[in-house]
Symmetry: C2
């Protein structure tokens, strides 16, 4: 049990790295993509589906789980793992991103943030300590500390104050939980918007706090791709080498590879699951919009090179039919494929790093993106 939280760096290839993180629910080989299971299920999938696609770690949303079914109920039920019958590791976010994006009428004080539920308008107050208590009830393998995710376009002064508050909150979180390290892991989040000086200061001050891992937050808030990349490439090397590094909420396949190229290890995004439900599917030759008429009688697999349940068993014509007919199975088959694509992407990156050919891998994806844009 003493090895819980240990991050073993295995190989590097330029800045890119692969490793292995030990959690209470097993080892997580990195780089890893984590499917998002907002409120106790990865939308449309059961644990068997996740096992079959090789999902290593999944993500739960603290904000959603706190509101419904409630973290106290989850504690009573033996935690989220037992509730949803998922035996692998779970990371929970801090709820910060949702409080600042989904809920109404928030008020931020040094102590925490007040918000109204997007479900019923009820008032709630999140403090750093409360958010950790909620995540203890959830029983996640990795807890994230409460942070403020500043909106895109926030000015220097606001962003600096916010970043300082986030550092304070990380200390409070650490103090609140310090006695029980070695069970649930805790990660802190570097903020600072798109001001590189603030990112540098945030990284320095955040990484002084003893944590099991460090994350880059506050990207994918509406910035340009270049701003995102600049921030990621600037910030990643400022994080400790011997701890897992997590890029929150990013992103498109190439963005994830860029993150890996910058030296990051963990990724999550709703893109594969949300796009699946809209009929937008990721393949090795680019995106497919399955509702297009040209797939009407297309007997080939969605992605002939893919080994997911969907591609092994069904044609594009069938997937198009399910989508057009509004069949529930459409959501599941599409989700299985898109997630397998993202999970495989992280695995391919891992192999490429092991074999010192990551530069080739990323350049292939950069070319695919150029072709799709051109």
């Amino acid at each position: 049990m003493n090895s819980i939280g240990r991050f073993r760096l295995e190989h590097t290839d330029g800045q890119a790295r692969c490793g292995c993180l030990q959690t209470l629910h097993g080892e997580v080989p990195t780089p890893v993509f984590m499917p998002v299971g907002t409120q106790g299920s990865v939308k449309s999938l059961c644990p068997m589906d996740l096992d079959n696609m090789g999902a290593g770690m999944i993500l739960g949303n603290t904000y959603h789980l706190y509101l419904r079914p409630g973290d106290e109920l989850l504690a009573q039920m033996g935690g989220l793992h037992r509730f949803m019958n998922w035996k692998g590791p779970i990371l929970t976010d801090s709820g910060g991103f949702q409080v600042f994006s989904l809920s109404d009428l928030r008020k931020i004080t040094p102590e925490g943030v007040e918000f109204k539920s997007h479900l019923d308008g009820s008032r709630h107050f999140f403090t750093p300590e409360k958010v950790i208590r909620i995540q203890k009830n959830i029983g996640s393998d990795i807890m994230m500390v409460l942070d403020e995710c500043v909106p895109y376009g926030a000015d220097l002064e606001y962003t600096r104050n916010s970043m300082h508050r986030t550092v304070q909150w990380a200390w409070k979180s650490r103090d609140f939980y310090s006695g029980e390290t070695g069970k649930q892991l805790m990660f802190a989040i570097v903020q600072g918007g798109f001001f590189m000086d603030l990112r540098r200061e945030s990284a320095a001050r955040t990484c002084e706090i003893p944590m099991d891992g460090y994350a880059i937050g506050g990207v994918s808030v509406g910035e340009t791709k270049q701003e995102m990349l600049d921030t990621v490439y600037f910030t990643a090397p400022l994080l400790p080498r011997d701890r897992p590094r997590y890029l929150m909420g990013v992103g498109k396949p190439l963005d994830i590879l860029e993150g890996i190229n910058a030296g990051l290890d963990m990724f999550d995004c709703v893109l594969p699951t949300r796009n699946a439900r809209n009929g937008t599917l990721f393949t090795s030759s680019g995106k497919v919009n399955i509702k297009q008429a040209r797939y009407r009688n297309d007997e080939t697999a969605l992605d002939p090179g893919c080994d997911c349940y969907t591609c092994m068993n069904f044609s594009r014509a069938y997937l198009r039919h399910l989508y057009m007919a509004g069949e529930l199975l459409s959501f599941r088959l599409n989700t299985i494929h898109n997630l397998r694509f993202f999970i495989n992407l992280a695995r391919k990156a891992r192999s490429a790093i092991q074999e010192k050919r990551f530069a080739q891998l990323i350049s292939r994806y950069r070319n695919v993106e150029k072709e799709q844009e051109g």
Copy 2:
């Protein structure tokens, strides 16, 4: 291949019987409950789910498949089995029930029925021959002949004329397909509303037509339970003993057992799948409405005696949470359970008949129903 269509009667217990029907896609032990896969999928389930729950034969709706994706596309794709990747037997209904219940502005002539699509209002004309041609394109193991399903409350004269037309249509269907027997099977449908004289005449005239099986149609159209039972118990013994007997669109668990008790072999109904999506679940101790607050922290399985994936892996509390949160997984887990309940019901009936204890089985279910009503 010559044995395709053979129905082997194995055991009887009173009027109840068990047997085995040979189809192009395998043997179907009877009594059997067939999950309804309206438009190319049993809603929310994939073929793996159906295999895991022991589904023997499933049903497809000719009306829906004709409109979308279209039977010609299905033929081009190698038939419905290949399209949806289902390796077991499929029965398709004739589309009659949907034409008379779903579509608009129908006009009935001796030649067939004109209707407007419920999807886009386009006009279509179904003849007995066309409906068989569609089912040949679909490639189902059992084709049903076009029939008119008279509305509840239709008078004697209308019902008699309609019944005569249905008999004519069955002859036309037989003539249209007679040369190819031994591949796809064809069943005709006894009609006659709730007039026993008409049911007797319909059975006599329909069973003169050489068919692979015979069905009772025109029940579950809004009649009382007693009218349904009277009709079923009156009509079943009029059907040939050496052919499979199919009760269309029925029904509740006890109704199915009553059908078996009357000597019927095959059943289909949307009840388990539709109710699953509404959160109404069938258990050995009666119906459960999973949204009720009392299940909020109920750690027990939905039906502790059930061996379905849902009951083996999740609690009532989790199923309630998924339902309340509108999670897509709710539809699937509930559907898996309800269908397993119905499939198991038919299997239990089969065992009971083999062991000459069917009377005990049905009396237990009659008591459960009385308790729920009382």
